[in-house]
């Protein structure tokens, strides 16, 4: 009987393709919107994830997210190095500073100062030069994608900046010694890497300048234990990468309307997609109501009728789900080369699948209600 149900589903090609197109569109919309939201949320943690070899980030207890500059004294570094379980600890500088290009173009840049000795936390993919070139004074690295966009020489007709060009950061000279390919970030200003000591030269005078201490734990050491030791022995807070990332995205979500608004768009996409799915399947089942009623009269049990409609829901939703996810993923591949956010983790697939199967099943069951209640008029009506 389930095979008959599938034939009933696919027999009318026009209706069947209409159903598939409608539900594919719904799946694509849900998956695409959710993936863009997911991508945006993920991009808030780009800086943190780039430091994947770091176990703990030590910071002022008032730091709310990765771009929140509340420096701590250099002495914190020595304190942390003395805590049991710490394999190594290095300083990092991260702040937004003013810069001026050779042609006088002024802009704000994010300066990241890496530990001079180890250059820990540097970009993973160099395009021009090497990370070690940072040791050439007063060298900085730029993101190759920023060169022709955010760092272009606006006042000279938009000429891209390049290796060898000079710029000044906070009125201190710097030379571009290499370029890297960074991952897109939620924070929009161009990111420039240099050494920690040079970053301190660029930074405005303050009593404390160190943004974070990056900590690597000894093998087998419990991160929670070291976190509590740091909290006991210093006045600073240590967070794991995932904790810091969650705090950052949570802060952005709470404090700016961007993610909330996009979240609403996702919910809207979910509702519209679900409604399209539900309405389409509801109409399809209603169109077949007479035949379901006929089958019911001829001795098909309620359970079997539900199973038949269930097999129709499963078939059409599976196909639409696959096609919709495929189209959304294709969209993601197309925008990979841009800074646009797109991330499709398994949760997006789960949300899309559950919404579609849930709503299609509900719509089908609602439309089946009449049949399950079986009115003879329906069966015998002309």
């Amino acid at each position: 009987m389930n095979l008959l149900a599938i034939k009933m589903l696919m027999g009318d090609r026009l209706k069947y393709f209409g159903l598939i197109v409608g539900m594919t569109f719904a799946a694509m919309m849900i998956a695409q919107q959710a993936s863009i939201y997911s991508g945006l949320k993920s991009q808030t943690g780009t800086f943190i994830r780039q430091l994947s070899n770091v176990d703990l980030f030590v910071m002022d207890e008032q730091v709310r997210f990765s771009e929140d500059y509340k420096p701590i004294p250099d002495t914190a570094l020595q304190q942390i190095r003395g805590i049991d379980g710490v394999s190594w600890a290095v300083p990092i500088y991260k702040n937004w500073l003013r810069a001026r290009l050779e042609d006088g173009t002024r802009l704000t840049v994010i300066v990241i100062g890496l530990d001079d000795a180890t250059l820990t936390g540097g970009p993973a993919e160099m395009v021009d030069g090497s990370l070690a070139d940072l040791r050439r004074d007063p060298g900085v690295l730029i993101d190759v994608r920023d060169a022709a966009t955010k760092l272009k020489l606006e006042r000279s007709g938009g000429v891209p900046i390049k290796v060898g060009d000079r710029l000044s950061i906070n009125d201190t000279d710097a030379v571009i010694v290499g370029s890297y390919r960074g991952n897109p970030s939620f924070f929009w200003e161009p990111t420039i890497y240099t050494t920690y000591s040079r970053a301190l030269r660029f930074a405005p005078r303050e009593r404390h300048l160190m943004s974070f201490v990056l900590v690597k734990l000894k093998p087998g050491v419990d991160a929670a234990l070291v976190q509590s030791l740091i909290a006991e022995r210093t006045m600073y807070r240590a967070k794991t990468g995932p904790e810091f990332e969650a705090a950052t995205s949570g802060y952005i979500l709470k404090q700016t309307g961007i993610l909330v608004n996009f979240g609403l768009a996702v919910i809207l996409g979910l509702i519209v997609g679900a409604l399209v799915t539900g309405q389409t399947f509801f109409n399809f089942t209603l169109d077949n109501l007479r035949y379901f009623a006929t089958l019911r009269a001829m001795g098909v049990s309620s359970l079997r009728l539900v199973a038949m409609v269930g097999s129709q829901v499963f078939t059409v939703t599976s196909i639409s789900f696959g096609l919709g996810i495929g189209l959304a993923a294709a969209f993601g591949v197309i925008i990979t080369k841009t800074d646009l956010a797109f991330l499709m983790p398994w949760q997006v697939l789960a949300i899309t699948g559950v919404s579609m199967f849930g709503v299609a099943s509900l719509a089908a069951l609602l439309s089946l209600y009449k049949v399950l209640r079986l009115e003879p008029g329906m069966v015998f009506k002309a």
Binding site: M1, L3, L4, K7, M8, L9, M10, G11, D12, R290, Y291, T294, L295, R296, A297, M298, G299, V300, S301, S302, R304, L374, P376, G377, V379, F380, K381, A382
Partner: protein, 260 residues
């Protein structure tokens, strides 16, 4: 003597009196009301009816007189309020929903006014439905439906879609579907109303030949006086009651305003 009369089974004389030895259907004091209170509609007001095995009984009467309600109750599609309705020894009132569903699948065949063939299935698949409901394999069901298609004169159309058949052919398919699982009772709702006279005549001829030759009982709801000749008895209903039960000749005369 008409073709219809010529093709009647030999026990027709017994049916005319309405008293066969073991009745296929016995209804006593059956009532049915739709709605409640002031909006209540009394569809059946105490119907007594019996149908013998191998008999073709026609239910006639004006629209809204309760014909469809009565065959719905007899077929186990609809509950009745009071009275008893026993079909082949089974009291419908005492059956659970699941038992009634199983009863319909095994005991009753349906022929509908608008055929109710599933348009996306082939003719053979449509006919195979009752066997599939009963649990037969698809291959067996299709094979048997092709056999019975030959008996209704559509052996070469097994792979067609219903939309590609004429009205008469579709009703033949519907008849084949109603017969394939050998139900003991077949209920037909206005089987010829969508057909021209000749096609309607052919369809009724077919039903008499194919169904009654196997001893199945038929209850046919109709407005079409032109097919009265195929009935063994004709029950005239009005306002939820059976007013009279006649032979085809008397019923035909009554429908023309002259009762012999």
């Amino acid at each position: 003597m008409s073709n219809a009369q010529a093709s009647r089974p030999p026990n027709t004389a017994n049916h005319a009196s309405g008293h066969a030895a073991t009745p296929a259907v016995v209804c006593r004091g059956v009532t049915k009301t739709y709605g409640k209170g002031t909006s209540a509609v009394f569809a059946l007001r105490g119907v007594d009816l019996s149908v013998a095995p191998g008999e073709l009984l026609m239910l006639v009467g004006p629209s809204g007189c309760g014909k469809t309600t009565l065959i719905s109750i007899v077929a186990g599609v609809l509950d009745h309020d009071e009275g008893d309705c026993v079909v082949y020894g089974r009291n419908l009132k005492s059956m659970s929903n699941a038992e009634r569903t199983e009863f319909r699948g095994k005991t009753v065949g349906f022929v509908f006014q608008s055929f109710n063939l599933i348009p996306t299935l082939t003719v053979a698949e449509n006919i195979a439905v009752p066997l599939l409901i009963a649990g037969s394999s698809r291959a067996e069901a299709i094979s048997r439906s092709r056999d019975i298609l030959g008996r209704v004169g559509l052996g070469d159309r097994w792979n067609s879609r219903p939309a590609n058949l004429s009205g008469g052919q579709q009703q033949r398919v519907a008849i084949a579907r109603s017969l394939i699982h050998h139900p003991r009772l077949i209920v037909c709702d206005e089987p010829t109303s969508a057909l021209d006279h000749k096609t309607g005549h052919d369809v009724m001829q077919l039903m008499r030949e194919v169904a009654l030759s196997s001893g199945q009982s038929l209850i046919v709801v109709t407005h079409d006086a032109r097919i009265f000749e195929f009935a063994d008895r004709i029950a005239r209903m009005d306002d939820g009651k059976i007013e009279s039960i006649d032979t085809p000749g008397r019923a035909l005369a009554a429908s023309h305003g002259a009762v012999p």
